[in-house]
């Protein structure tokens, strides 16, 4: 009985240590930047699909909103815990710009303004490309 208790305790402690280790793990700059780049790419595909009438309004707006929130959240990590070895001033400006552009696109969807949409979308495509280039520069496989 005692042995069984000790074994259960050791198992629980193992799980707790593993969870703590995971929580303490420092975020990797390249992974974080890659994740931000992925969010912007997803937002771009969603916006491109909407303007071609391939996705519903609510879905696209949600996707853009989620991408913007995720970029904002990961931006904090990028400039504090996981600073990537790239031009951080340019990165900060690009991400701030991209978030504003996404917010504008969300507004245009709400207003059903498909006419102004393509020109704003072009700005997002450029931001997404710039961030992807920075992310790729940190990836040894690319």
């Amino acid at each position: 009985m005692t042995m069984r208790f000790v074994r259960s305790l050791a198992f629980s402690l193992g799980i707790l240590s593993a969870a703590s280790l995971d929580a303490c793990k420092k975020p990797d700059p390249a992974d974080t930047l890659s994740s931000v780049s992925s969010e912007l790419a997803t937002a771009t595909i969603a916006a491109e699909a909407w303007v071609l009438h391939r996705t519903p309004n609510a879905f696209t707006r949600n996707e853009l909103h989620d991408a913007r929130m995720s970029v904002a959240q990961q931006q904090k990590t990028l400039f504090t815990e996981a600073v990537p070895p790239v031009d951080t001033t340019k990165l900060r400006l690009t991400l701030d710009h991209a978030k504003n552009v996404i917010a504008t696109l969300e507004g245009l969807i709400a207003k059903q303004d498909a006419k102004s949409f393509p020109s704003v979308l072009t700005l997002l495509e450029q931001d997404a490309k710039d961030v992807k280039d920075m992310s790729d520069s940190l990836d040894p496989s690319k």
Binding site: S37, S38, T42, A49, N57, F59, K132, D136, P140
Partner: protein, 404 residues
């Protein structure tokens, strides 16, 4: 004539029932992150599941036992209990993931957050289990799941370089991101070699009163259906490799997979994905709920037929009712179904030996399979793929979660 019809239906439903949130998510992740390089994992997983499903049908046709009942009979209660705990734990996560997949599909079509859909989805699943017969559940959801053939059409329309696709069938080491590569490989294997599929198939063979004359039909259904199902998984990977990979999208949501379908199939891609996934995940949720309930009922000697009225099998029905309620909890708390999916698929690979080794022993025991035991090829293929999946899981899961 009846058997020809059963054969055709069996193949078609195996194809339609193959894809679900696990296979779609893991294949899309593999394609987006590593191009065609992980196609080998789908090929190996499919090969293994073809053998396992064929064995499950053969065991039930010859012995008239389900896998669980035979396992309990052959190895005793203690061993059965270990398998029960492992399988029920992992399958519970898979069930939550599948219910989440239906809720996510509804979120995509309506814009209303997936937690709002969890209770309606659980109620519909429960109602279907309560009211429908086994064949309605199996054939209905799988026939509607044929919408997932859209992935094959999408892959074809993208005109991939078939020589590069073929190269992906040969296992290779990645140039970078090794931990992530092996973790996705394990998840793909776990998504393909789902033990619940064997339990469900074996119970189905008993429900439909198969005998030894079904051995040939069983072989064709398992081989043909699972092969084309694996082909659909490969199609998901090919589409992701062509659409998401070049744009730098790492798949971490179901919505990204829906978006990728809008490019090769501009008019109906989104709708087909949403409808196909809602049906496929609902079908998988029904099958897993039944598989877990069979696991308990067949091992503990309860009444368990899905074709009987709930009044005649109260414990069986009470069990799936409680299971569905429990599976809803993490989703109601807002846990991302895709995160549950990825973890559950990798854990499935890790627990494979506990379920497959005793099954292999049964398949070589003439007391159960009479004159139809396994040959050397089926034993070898299953053991090699199972050991590989297990070793990869043991190495890749800690690497992925705790860093290399």
């Amino acid at each position: 004539m009846k058997k020809i019809f059963q054969l055709a239906l069996g193949i078609v439903t195996s194809i339609g029932g193959f894809l679900e949130i696990g296979s779609v998510t893991t294949a899309a992740q593999g394609g987006a992150s590593f191009g065609y390089q992980l196609l080998w994992a789908i090929a190996l997983g499919t090969l293994c599941v073809i053998f396992l499903v064929e064995m499950a049908g053969r065991l039930s046709a010859v012995s008239k036992h389900t896998i669980v009942a035979a396992m309990r009979d052959r190895f005793g209660f203690r061993f059965y209990f270990i398998v029960l705990v492992l399988m029920a734990g992992v399958s519970y996560l898979v069930l939550a993931a599948e219910l989440g997949g239906v809720a996510l599909a509804l979120q995509m079509s309506t814009g209303l957050g997936f937690p709002w859909w969890v209770i309606p989805v659980v109620l519909v699943t429960w109602l279907l289990l309560w009211k429908a017969t086994f064949s309605v559940i199996e054939n209905g959801s799988s026939l509607l799941g044929l919408m997932t053939v859209a992935f094959a059409v999408a892959a074809w329309k993208l005109h991939p370089h078939w020589s590069q696709v073929a190269t992906g069938l040969i296992p290779t080491r990645p140039d970078a991101h090794a931990a992530n590569y092996w973790f996705i490989a394990v998840s793909i294997l776990g998504a393909s070699i789902s033990p619940y599929l064997m339990y469900f198939y074996s119970a189905g063979a008993v429900e439909e009163e198969w005998d030894e004359t079904y051995i040939g039909i069983n072989r064709v259904i398992a081989g043909g259906g699972m092969f084309f199902g694996g082909f659909l998984s490969a199609a998901v990977l090919i589409v992701a490799a062509n659409i998401l990979g070049p744009r730098g999208v790492d798949v971490d949501s179901f919505q990204q997979v829906a978006l990728m379908m809008t490019i090769p199939l501009p008019n109906w891609g989104f709708e087909l994905f949403v409808a196909g996934m809602a049906v496929a995940c609902l079908g998988a949720a029904l099958e897993i709920t039944l598989a877990i309930s069979y696991l308990f009922a067949q091992g503990l000697g309860w009444n368990w037929s899905e074709n009987a009225s709930p009044a005649r099998e109260a414990r069986f029905c009470a069990l799936y009712t409680v299971l569905l309620a429990l599976a809803a909890i993490p989703l109601l708390l807002g846990t991302d179904p895709v995160k549950i999916t990825v973890l559950s698929m990798a854990l499935t690979a890790a627990v494979l030996p506990a379920t497959i080794i005793p099954f292999l022993v049964l398949m070589n025991d003439r007391a159960y399979v009479g004159d139809h035991p396994n040959g050397i090829i089926s034993n070898t293929v299953v053991v090699v793929i199972m050991v590989m999946s297990f070793v990869l899981a043991i190495v890749a899961i800690p690497l992925q979660y705790f860093g290399s």
